[in-house]
Subunit: 118 residues, 2 copies
């Protein structure tokens, strides 16, 4: 802990800060999960689906038509979104309606948009 692997010989950053940072870091696993979550936002098909669901819950085939993609592709992506707990599903007869799971989705996407616009 006190000894460091050879790297830069002169450390501008104090060892205290490095130690402090190490203590403050969440577990590897938690950070891995966080990256996995953002990975879900990192695909334009899925972002588009989420944007649609901002307005209204919708069934798979309407999503497919709206986004100009096959039912299969949309269904695969909805599964990813569902596993990440970003959307939930509600069955009504033959059709399944998907809707946003909670408001973090809006906030996260909103902040992303803000970042793009600055």
């Amino acid at each position: 802990m006190e000894e460091r692997i050879e790297c830069c010989d002169e450390h501008r950053v104090h060892p205290e800060i490095v130690t402090h940072v190490k203590l403050d870091m969440p577990d590897e696993e938690r950070l891995y999960d966080l990256a996995e979550l953002f990975k879900v936002f990192g695909d334009s098909t899925r972002v588009r689906i989420l944007y649609v669901l901002f307005e209204s819950e919708m069934c798979v085939c309407d999503l497919a038509e709206l986004l100009g993609m096959t039912q299969s592709a949309i269904s695969h992506q909805l599964r990813v979104l569902k596993q990440a707990k970003l959307v939930r599903a509600r069955r009504e007869g033959k059709t399944v309606f998907y809707f946003l799971a909670d408001d973090h989705v809006r906030t996260i996407i909103g902040q992303g948009m803000e970042h793009l616009c600055e």
Copy 2:
């Protein structure tokens, strides 16, 4: 616009809503950029780098040592982060210090963490 490609024959979602959603959607390009932005957050090495930079600006080799990765790997990822304008760099002699570009990064990661914890 009024005519729809054959899909579900009975539409539970009113055509008005579909039209409304279409109008409210940002451009393809914007949504693509948004997904690209989140893609940057979607890697645990990059998330870890960002977390470290929450605490303090840091040089490449310190980051490499802290995260137990090669200098090259870190440097490649810093470039990605820089291109996305999530971090900025400051040169001081031989060493280059990287730091967070703005506070959206904190908010976005914070919201992501919140989502995981619910």
